[in-house]
């Protein structure tokens, strides 16, 4: 199995913990939106779309920071970007359709 580069990146602890705090905050927001408040504020379809966008945004944070893709080969970042666009776009289209 090939490994392109054996010298790993170094990421500060603050950056990693900051990403986690952001993920937790976005989860709280999605939780709030998923309850009655969100529907009353935005309407059903809009809430669904926002929740899905938030979910895929959180996935992007996980891959960008925790999976260290911000430092990884372009093909790897592109693979995940395609996955987000196809799956996220498909879900939003099906939910709004």
């Amino acid at each position: 199995m090939t490994t392109a580069n054996l010298r790993p990146p170094t990421t500060s602890v603050n950056y990693i913990v900051g990403a986690w705090a952001l993920l937790m905050a976005l989860t709280f927001l999605a939780w709030w939106l998923g309850g009655e408040h969100g529907v009353a504020t935005l309407g059903l379809k809009a809430v669904d779309a926002v929740i899905l966008v938030l979910a895929f945004g959180k996935m992007a944070v996980v891959s960008h920071v925790f999976m260290e893709q911000r430092l990884a080969a372009p093909w790897l970042r592109a693979s995940f970007a395609v996955w987000y666009l196809v799956v996220g776009g498909g879900l939003v289209a099906l939910y709004l359709g």
């Binding site: 580069n5 010298r7 170094t10």
Partner: protein, 217 residues
């Protein structure tokens, strides 16, 4: 991977530097081809994610066919359990990322402590899922109830299997971290990055399941 093989690997004696960060040439590396762990693990992860992509889209399509059934099912799932499990997996991922960070610095004991935290959070996820499913089944909501609950049990069940595998992987990561003296060898680091990437994938997939089964209408 054996201890003999690991011991025969050259040990790094200076801090590692990498893409976009502390060492010379880092930015260039980011442009050319560094990946966490091995290329093979990413092939595996992307294949697994493709499978879940199909599951997600099938769920959304089925929802368009039976909107009332899915809306009713979604209202019956335990949102609090879903939120708790999301917090547990996100925190487990935090611990894994920190474990990788500390092992690169050669701080084996701290890395092991982080992996222990991962294990605790992951076990908490499994326990919470056990109680959540138990409560659902006790009220008569089974995989045979309707299309929503069939997908609910199948998809979260497949994900639960991934969590169980990831927990076993974490045990191996802990054992590998325990073998690190000074700085990790390239082989040790690849092993730990492979396992960490798998764990993060399990976390990432859960974020999608959480949105579909607990949050959307």
């Amino acid at each position: 991977m054996t201890g003999t093989t690991i011991a025969s690997e050259p040990r790094n004696t200076t801090p590692l530097a990498g893409p976009g960060h502390d060492g010379p040439g880092g930015r260039e590396r980011a442009q050319t081809g560094w990946v966490p762990g091995e290329v093979g693990i990413w092939g595996f992860i992307l294949t697994d994610m493709t499978g879940f992509a199909v599951y997600f889209l099938v769920f959304a399509y089925q929802r368009t066919q039976q909107p009332a059934v899915f809306a009713h099912g979604r209202r019956l799932t335990d949102l609090s359990a879903g939120v708790i499990n999301t917090f547990l997996l996100l925190t487990a991922s935090l611990f894994v990322a920190l474990a990788v960070h500390y092992i690169r610095e050669g701080r084996s004991a701290t890395s092991k402590a982080m992996l222990l935290g991962t294990g605790v959070c992951g076990t908490g996820f499994v326990a919470n899922k056990y109680f959540e499913w138990g409560a659902e089944l006790a009220t008569g909501r089974t995989p045979l109830s309707d299309n929503f609950f069939q997908l609910y049990y199948v998809l979260t069940g497949i994900h639960l299997l991934h969590v169980l595998v990831a927990l076993i992987v974490v045990v191996y990561l802990w054992r590998m971290a325990a073998r690190v003296r000074n700085l990790p060898t390239a082989r040790q680091l690849r092993f730990i990055e492979n396992g960490a990437s798998y764990w993060h994938m399990v976390d990432l997939i859960w974020l999608g399941l959480f949105a579909l089964f607990y949050l959307t209408s």
